[in-house]
Amino acid sequence: MSDPARAAAPRGSGFWADTLHRVVRNRAAVAGGTVVVLFIAVALFAPVLSPYDPLKGRLGERLRAPSGAHWLGTDELGRDVLSRVLHGARITVQIQLAAVGLALAVGAALGLAAGYIGRWVDQLIMRLMDILMAFPGIFLALAIIAALGTGLGNVIIAAGIFLVPQFARVVRASVLTLKDMEFVQAARALGQGDFAIVFRYLLPNSLAPIIVQTSLRMATVLLTASGLSFLGLGVQPPSPEWGAMLSNARSYMITAPHVAMIPGLAIALVVLGFNLLGDGLRDSLDPRLRE
């Protein structure tokens, strides 16, 4: 550190190194990132961390308050709430990755096509997105569940399609700005084909808004999917999905409020983590905010 050249090295040493420094200096991103990393670790190691089987209950130990034996108490079937919440993280990560992955793949492809080709393709795709977005909030997901039925796979499809327009719009907006920039014009003038322009210039330069959206939408997916399960239209019991746990526990709200409050708190924490991370990433990645 005594060498001034070395201390100064990270600054201006390329876009990603520079960006990483900005992210690390952003308190929101660090706080959110910590929550997200912990959450993923819990999901990965749930079987090791859980003191009990999440699906097996002991009827003699129903609706126990938190204690030394059951840190977060037991539910209406005598199952350990802590073990269920930990295993619920696995289901949540699965839903989030699959649904956001689906939305990202379809949305980015549509956004690229709309922004790059333009004209009637743009009109067609964006009007289609308008139609999807005309079903406000959870309604689009509900309509898809109504047609396909409940269950983990359909929740992923419903939550994924629900987010396709968001990704399509972000990618389209980014492509529209980039398309007329000099470096893209130059590439075209040098004879680069559409394929090369899209994958070598447009997509890599759209990564920042895509990363921000991905983090924020991980939060939206969790709220939507757990909302569906809460309504009884998502992942079905006895699965320890957080929304489904909460739904079951409503009947015991007065005698054993912890059974409902804990899975809800888990959802809130993870959603907050992804929102903080997304916000922090936006502040540190958005070129418009750079001095």
């Binding site: 308008d130 406000p136 309604f139 309509a143 809460f230 309504l231 409503r250 409020p257 809130a268």
Partner: protein, 306 residues
């Protein structure tokens, strides 16, 4: 202005058409024979033939859609499989309640969100600003259904200030409106803050201050008026999200709204009800957004000429 409104109307026409195709397609997407879905699994071939004929299911899909569209425009959304009542009647009974709830939630979020946003923007980087920012992040992160149960536990079960569910009196709507308005408040607070900060940088605000006007007048009479214009469109969007959130809020508080109707319809496989309710909600949302866009153009003439 008239040209702008005409243009906007032309733009929403294909969206409304798409929305009706979407709700029509719902029954087509369900795996299995639509006639059997409408008549039930045990229906005899004779009954199925009659149902197919009655519902026009023996016609080509395009014809079926045109008939569906013509009926929908005329206010005929079909008959509920479960209650045998016209779907339009069921919706007319339930939708006003949901609209009222969503509207109350918007009032809550306007009051909370705008005040928090102004405070945060005028005391930028203070503890209050930080608190408003953190509060709004928490606000958009809480699941509606969990917040509902939490409020119910605290204010109905423990403190007994408000009823825990049901409907009838104004007090029944206090908790649901607060719960539903919470996340909109957060969004509106963030928008108000950003918009105010933008406006406070403008020359006319500097001029107002230079004239020696009191800070209160600068903020409320000069800055806020202009800062509110972009926030208008957010109200339209948030109203739509509140319609969506009402599905969860109505379930938590056992309220007789459209959201419950849809969820019960999905459980009972009562597709005409689900289709009709989806169509009505989406159309309402599109129209509300049209109105907010027109209001936006009315207050900010620059928009009309874009």
């Amino acid at each position: 202005m008239i040209a702008y409104i005409t243009r906007r109307l032309l733009l929403i026409a294909p969206v409304l058409l798409g929305v009706s195709i979407g709700s029509f397609a719902l029954l087509q997407l369900v795996p299995g024979d639509p006639a059997m879905i409408l008549a039930g699994q045990e229906a005899t071939e004779e009954v199925l033939t009659r149902i197919r004929h009655e519902h026009g299911l023996d016609q080509p899909v395009a014809i079926q859609f045109l008939v569906y569209l013509r009926n929908a425009v005329g206010g005929n959304l079909g008959i509920s499989i479960q209650s045998r009542q016209p779907v339009a009647t069921l919706i007319a009974q339930r939708f006003p309640f949901t609209l009222r709830l969503a509207f109350l939630a918007i009032l809550v979020s306007a009051a909370l969100g705008v005040v928090a946003g102004i405070v945060a923007a005028t005391r930028r980087n203070s503890m209050l600003d930080l608190a408003a920012l953190l509060g709004s992040l928490v606000g958009i992160s809480l699941p509606i259904f969990w917040l509902g149960l939490l409020m119910m536990l605290v204010f109905s079960v423990r403190l007994q200030w408000f009823p825990a569910g049901g409907s009838g009196t104004a007090t029944h709507l206090v908790l649901p409106a607060l719960v539903l308005g919470a996340s909109s408040s957060a969004v509106i607070a963030r928008m108000t803050r950003a918009s105010m900060l933008e406006v406070l940088r403008q020359d006319y605000v500097r001029t107002a201050r230079a004239k020696g006007l009191r800070e209160q007048i600068v903020i409320y009479r000069h800055a806020l008026k202009n800062a509110m214009i972009p926030i208008l469109t957010v109200f339209g969007l948030e109203f739509g999200y509140n319609l969506g959130g009402a599905v969860l809020t109505e379930t938590v508080f056992s309220l007789p709204g459209l959201g419950r109707l849809i969820v019960e319809g999905i459980f009972a496989r009562d597709y005409p009800v689900v289709q009709g309710a989806m169509l009505v909600v989406a159309t309402t949302f599109v129209l509300v957004n049209l109105l907010t866009d027109i209001a936006y153009a009315f207050f900010d003439p620059r928009i009309r000429y874009e």
